[in-house]
Amino acid sequence: MARFVARRLAGMVLVLFVVSLLVFAIFNVIPNSDPAQRMAGKNAEPILVKSIEEDWGFDEPLPVQYWSMMEKVFSGELISYGDELNVDERILEGIPATFSLCIGAAVIWLFFGILFGYLSATRAGGWLDRALTVGSVAGISIPVFLIAAVLLYLFTYKIELFPASGYVPLLDDPLQWAYHLILPWFTLAVLNIGFYSRVLRSNMLDVMREDYVRTARAKGLDERRVLIRHVLRNSLIPVITLFGLDFGATIGGGAIITEAIFSLGGVGQYAADSITNLDLPPLMAITLFGAFFVVFFNAVTDVVYAYLDPRIRLGSSAQ
């Protein structure tokens, strides 16, 4: 197991290195325009362009440029050109809001996804199953901003039940924290509720046909015990995998639209604001930040999966 973890971590570092090369390429090497001009934004003064050019050393060879970019990002010296504030500090400030949003939404989508999937599979073909199936297809087809718009209109305007925006730190006031986050949590969770209930439903229907389920029934276990201990538990393993990947992707960038609409001031909103100002240094740093979480949770998921299913770690350490 230790060897597997080590191998997986080494792989993660390698992927992150390649990812950083690609980010560098996207923002600095894409042809047909002057990178300094691009970084400075649309209507930049020539002086600013000149200073960016010197700052970043765009006349240097590419490997040197790459090195200086990474140095800036990791030493915390990266400055945005829109508001001339420190990019790394701004990202760190945004992390509590982003994590609060994503973790809360993840709890909600796991709970309802598993509940709906279980109800659907155990009543396959019935009216509840049909209603949930329709609901889950709608859930994965609805654009996030439409859910947000409908929730905002209904619950902050028609019925003034929840605040429309803002983030209150958890340690300042836990109640206000949750109160401000309820609408964003549900907005972000809807897609994955639909997705997870579909996946769990079809997994459970597959598992129900397994021999050991028939054995469990044959030896006289009551139905509820069979469904929960034998069917549900085994159907959840692929769901755990998906959860690891989706959670990484959500923290890494899946929450941008939700954060922007509810003005939560997290990393995602910082990204959305930077697009509006066409401010590239923050986008570069946030893309690296997002990719880190995707790759990290990918690796964690593999390790957890290998722990749950020994066939995987045995298979790969035999190579």
């Binding site: 993660m12 894409i30 001009q37 654009p143 209109y153 960038g253 790759v295």
Partner: protein
């Protein structure tokens, strides 16, 4: 002795079909092609057919944009009516009030003009914009899905057939794209290219060309389809018919495109349908954030993003384009689902193709 000579058993028979029962009977279910059987299964799926009808209706709706614009609304998608008045049932009303509030939906009150009202301070006809914006959204969804499908099929075939280092290079490249959050990669490419445009050899694109979001979306989603195709090819290439083709002297290209590709069609068709839905959703997200379609072009996603700013005063401006996206994506998802059930009832492709791999492969290193 019979007059006719007995056929010499040692000689190859002149008409081998006569004696062999291998030709299928001309009628009966066993004689139908798999395509016909799939068509019959699909025809019985009412929900899938209704979804297809809905999608066709939406396509007709956006194609009719010039008709509505020229003959009913009498205006263009970017024509402003800030200071004009429109007569509603004989009464003159301002398109944009003094306080800057746009006129609400008039339905047929002004003969179809401002059917859904005006879109904000500029006083453009929302209905006309909705129809033209839909053209952009659908066009981007369809073209990018086509490019995704072609790229993913070719890459999946190459990686799965040749294996070895070809597979290594292709799969690791896919892994890198996979390591980016989909929306962030789209944003990074979208903003970088929107500023400077793109130039590859003789092809040159302006920063606001709609081909930029098309290419970005197509590339971003390619790994999600290429990996399952590769998996299928890996399994198919071990089958006897491939061995037979190789024994007959077929080259790699012929095996890939004449032997393997026909076996992938049902997967490809289902993925194509679902790709349109996913790609439209990504386009909407990118345009909503300002990293997709650039002015003067508009799309449903972009319209929602301007509509959200006035959600409390004119909610329809955000809801109308948002609901259009929902209906289009929903119809494609449900139809794609039915198509999969019809083409291959045992198939494992899921509607949620965008969510990526169903089982982890500890192969990043």
């Amino acid at each position: 002795m019979p007059l006719e000579p007995q056929p010499d058993p040692a000689l190859p028979a002149g008409e081998p079909d006569e004696g062999f029962p291998s030709a299928p009977p001309a009628s009966g279910a066993e004689g139908h092609s798999p395509w016909y059987l799939a068509y019959r299964r699909l025809r019985r799926n009412r929900i899938a057919l209704a979804s297809l009808a809905l999608f066709i209706l939406i396509v007709v709706f956006v194609l009719a944009a010039p008709l509505w614009a020229n003959h009913v609304a009498d205006t263009g998608p970017n024509t402003t009516h800030t200071t004009e008045k429109v007569s509603v049932d004989g009464e003159k009303r301002e398109v944009v009030s003094v306080e800057g509030k746009p006129i609400g939906p008039l339905w047929f009150g002004a003969g179809g003009k401002f059917f859904l009202g005006a879109d904000g301070g500029l006083g453009r006809d929302e209905m006309v914009r909705l129809m033209y914006g839909g053209r952009t959204s659908l066009f981007i969804g369809l073209t990018s899905a086509l490019i995704t499908t072609i790229l993913a099929t070719i890459l999946g075939l190459l990686a799965g057939y040749f294996r070895g280092w070809t597979d290594g290079v292709i799969s690791r490249t896919m892994d890198v794209i996979w390591s980016f959050p989909v929306v962030l990669l789209g944003i990074a490419l979208g903003t970088a290219l929107a500023l400077g445009g793109l130039k590859i050899g003789p092809i040159e694109m302006a920063g606001n060309s709609i081909w930029i979001p098309i290419l970005i979306i197509a590339v971003v989603y390619t790994p999600y389809m290429a990996r399952p195709i590769r998996g299928e090819v890996l399994a198919l290439r071990e089958k006897e018919f491939v061995e037979a083709a190789v024994a007959q002297g077929a080259g790699s290209l012929r095996v890939m495109f004449a032997e393997l590709l026909p076996n992938l069609w049902s997967t490809i068709i289902v993925f194509f349908t679902l790709n349109i839905a996913n790609n439209m959703l990504l386009e909407a997200s990118l345009s909503f954030l300002g990293a997709g379609v650039q002015p003067p072009n508009s799309s449903w996603g972009k319209m929602v993003s301007t509509g959200v700013e006035s959600i409390y005063t004119s909610p329809l401006l955000a809801f109308a384009p948002g609901v259009m996206i929902l209906l289009t994506v929903l119809s494609l998802n449900v139809f794609g689902d039915g198509l999969r059930d019809a083409l291959d009832p045992k198939s494992k492709i899921r509607l949620e193709a965008h969510a990526g791999l169903a089982e982890p492969e500890g192969t990043a290193a």
